[in-house]
């Protein structure tokens, strides 16, 4: 259809469906990936900063919306600097812990309170380093917002036995999306508690329908344990697929940028097909298929997302320049907290 046509002024007030398209190629990325590994090993890991940039550039530059590609802007030296400092902090903390164990408790407390700040920094870096049509993305959130989204809401979800858990999910996504911007234009997130609640309820229903019989079989008819194992496997696999698909679709459908909205149609069947093919080929090739697997998964997800553009995409303007360091991002990777 009019998928990738450049919007003309005549049609600018109608809703246009603009597709996302990933134009990467498994074999092409494999070559980049294997050279990255080789050079990283030869340089004892120093090249890994350059490798990260080339990987990210490959996945940004091959992602097209409306026939125009995204870009990744980070410089390897910025990443390397962040990585070196993060490693130094990690080793320093480890050494102090070994010599003086009580310090571990202090570090632990400091780390917990530093996490919201670091997550903010990390998101700001990754947004700033991504651009589309020469306009950078931005992220700016307060410490308090990050603290609420990362700690307070999940905690409330836990102590209410999960009743507020969908709300914690909603708050986490609101924290990310509402604080993001494309140039000077802010994103908005308009999902509701009941949107997430429904997904959680279906998962709960699955747990009852599959998990309860499995428990009964295990306790009262252990000789049929094959059946209970199958049920539990179905519960995990089905629950994981359903949850991933539903939350992904809900996420994109709920994001808006000015008058532009998004549509997402990831299906359980489609995702399952991609995951199974990837796992099989990765196992058969002893891991050499990994890069192509990532390309395949990215291609699939991108093919499911469209942008409903109301008007022209030409009118976004750049925000003032800011310098963001890669330290937050790299500390996040070293200390392994999820973002």
């Amino acid at each position: 259809m009019n998928d990738s046509a450049i919007d003309s002024p005549a049609s600018s007030q109608q809703t246009q469906k603009l597709t996302f398209e990933f134009r990467g190629d498994g074999l092409e990325y494999f070559k980049i990936w294997i050279v990255n590994i080789l050079l990283s090993i030869v340089t004892l890991g120093i090249y890994s900063a350059w490798a990260t940039v080339r990987n990210n550039r490959y996945f940004h530059s091959n992602l097209y919306l409306n026939d125009s590609n995204f870009r990744y802007l980070a410089k390897p030296l910025t990443i390397l600097k962040g990585r070196v400092i993060a490693m130094a902090v990690f080793i320093g903390v480890g050494a102090v812990n070994a010599l003086f164990p009580p310090a571990g408790i202090i570090f632990g407390i400091v780390l917990v309170f530093a996490i919201p700040y670091l997550v903010n920094q990390s998101l700001a870096f990754n947004h700033r380093m991504s651009s589309y049509n020469n306009i950078q993305f931005r992220f700016k959130a307060s410490y308090g917002e990050a603290f609420m989204a990362l700690f307070v809401w999940p905690f409330l979800g836990m102590i209410t036995l999960g009743i507020l858990y969908p709300l914690a999910f909603l708050k986490a996504n609101e924290y990310v999306v509402n604080n993001s911007a494309y140039g000077t234009q802010k994103f908005t997130f308009n999902a509701t508690y009941s949107d997430y609640g429904k997904i959680f309820l279906v998962c709960l229903a699955m747990a009852l329908v599959l998990g309860l019989p499995a428990m009964l079989i295990m306790n009262f008819a252990p000789s049929l344990s094959v059946i209970s194992s199958i049920l539990i496997f179905l519960l995990y696999a089905g629950g994981f697929l359903y949850f991933t698909v539903q939350t992904t679709n809900l996420f994109y459908r709920s994001v808006a940028l000015a008058d532009h909205g998004f549509e997402s149609n990831v299906t359980i069947q489609g995702l399952l097909q991609v995951i199974l093919t990837n796992m099989l080929l990765t196992a058969v090739t002893l891991g050499l298929y990994l890069p192509a697997a990532k390309v395949r998964a990215t291609k699939y997800i991108c093919s499911c997302i469209t942008m409903n553009a109301n008007g022209s995409l030409d009118t976004f303007t750049a925000a003032e320049k800011e310098n963001v360091s890669a330290l937050g991002e790299e500390l996040g990777q070293v200390f392994d907290f999820a973002i």
């Binding site: 070559k31 990283s40 590609n69 344990s225 697997a293």
Partner: protein
């Protein structure tokens, strides 16, 4: 040479058609074709341009300064432009050339696989061994609190009678004395099925079930020496070091891929199991040598292993008969971290052939 592409003014997201004109004997120029048909010509200096390195066939980005940007799909033309201005030089696009060369890619694949293989088989075990022996004692002591933790969680005090404990302690005393520098000590506990373990601080734990399945003193000594072997070769420390090095390697290889844990986790677990078997073999060998030195029949070791295996098989059968939760995993746990019992028995035979040349 005319390179067609898109121009961005650094202020808005508007895409503007443009051409980069590099004619001989005339300065570099960017022709920007605005929508109102007006054409703007901008003179450029090659030295001021920031041209991104080539990455496969993704659009080439040329930063013009002041956030202004020119993007083109014509990568080859940009490469030619660079060569015209800088001369054919190997610095620009070296990585791209590596990535494009099929022969080199094949070689890189082979070298990478070979490097990773040799790191896993030789590099990691050797360096872990080196580090483990160089580590100051206090780090080992740091691991030492593990008996306290085990006592709180998995182990209870022993129910063996005093006389039996006394007898065993007297039996092993001379051997423990020999390895005083490892601060080797034997303690009895109950729980954890039939098990003998060596903790890095020198504590060796025999569980009641284990002591009960042992038929004679020689068998007990064989197992004790096996555990002393673990201490002597610092196996626990080496295993911790090796596992963390494997994790680092996996991160290095897959670091920038957000892959599912299953894909990256599996090789880590498999490697840990294979390292564990290597350590068991080393400890077995140590035990056989020491038994031989002390003039004890090395068959005692084979008997102890056979006892242990049949214990776990019985255990598995009883459990499935009693139809409780699947404890059958005990036997598979034991077999996945330890070499197969028949291999261990065969090891004893081989040892006898090699060292005991009686008529």
């Amino acid at each position: 040479m005319i390179i067609a592409g898109t121009y961005f003014d650094g202020i808005s997201s508007k895409r503007i058609a443009a051409q980069l004109q590099a004619m001989q004997n005339s300065p570099l120029m960017l022709r920007i074709c605005h929508e109102d048909k007006a054409v703007e010509n901008v003179h450029l200096q090659f030295d001021k341009l920031d041209i991104e390195s080539r990455l496969a066939d993704t659009p080439r980005e040329i930063n013009l300064g002041d956030e202004k940007l020119f993007i083109t799909d014509d990568n080859d033309a940009v490469d030619e432009l660079i060569e015209q201005n800088n001369g054919p030089n190997f610095q620009t696009g070296l990585v791209y050339r590596l990535e494009k060369n099929l022969g080199l890619i094949a070689l890189a694949t082979l070298v990478t696989v070979a490097v990773i293989y040799s790191a896993v088989v030789f590099g990691i075990p050797k360096s872990a061994e080196y580090i483990a022996y160089k580590l100051p004692d206090f780090t080992q002591k740091h691991f030492g609190s593990s008996l306290t933790i085990l006592d709180k969680t998995l182990l209870d005090s022993s129910e063996l009678d005093e006389a039996r404990q006394q007898h065993i302690q007297e039996l092993v005393a001379p051997y423990l004395e020999e390895y005083e520098h490892l601060s080797a000590r034997l303690v009895f506990r109950s729980g954890m099925k039939a098990n003998a373990l060596a903790l890095p601080d020198g504590h060796m734990v025999f569980t009641d079930d284990f002591v009960n399945l042992i038929h004679d003193d020689d068998e007990l000594l064989a197992v004790l020496l096996h555990e002393i072997g673990h201490l002597q070769y610092k196996h626990m420390m080496r295993r911790v070091l090796q596992d963390s090095m494997v994790t680092l390697l996996v991160v290095l290889v897959t670091g920038d891929l957000d892959t599912i844990d299953l894909v990256t986790g599996l090789p880590t677990i498999l490697l840990d199991l294979s390292y564990s078997k290597d350590f068991e073999r080393e400890a077995d060998q140590f035990s056989l040598e020491q038994l031989h030195k002390a003039n004890i029949d090395v068959d005692a070791f084979a008997r102890a292993m056979t006892n242990l295996e049949s214990y776990y098989i019985d255990e598995a059968e009883n459990q499935s008969k009693n139809e409780k939760r699947g404890y059958g995993k005990n036997i598979s746990d034991f077999l996945s971290t330890h070499p197969a019992t028949e291999d261990r028995v065969k090891m004893v035979e081989d040892f006898k052939k090699l060292h005991i040349t009686e008529p």
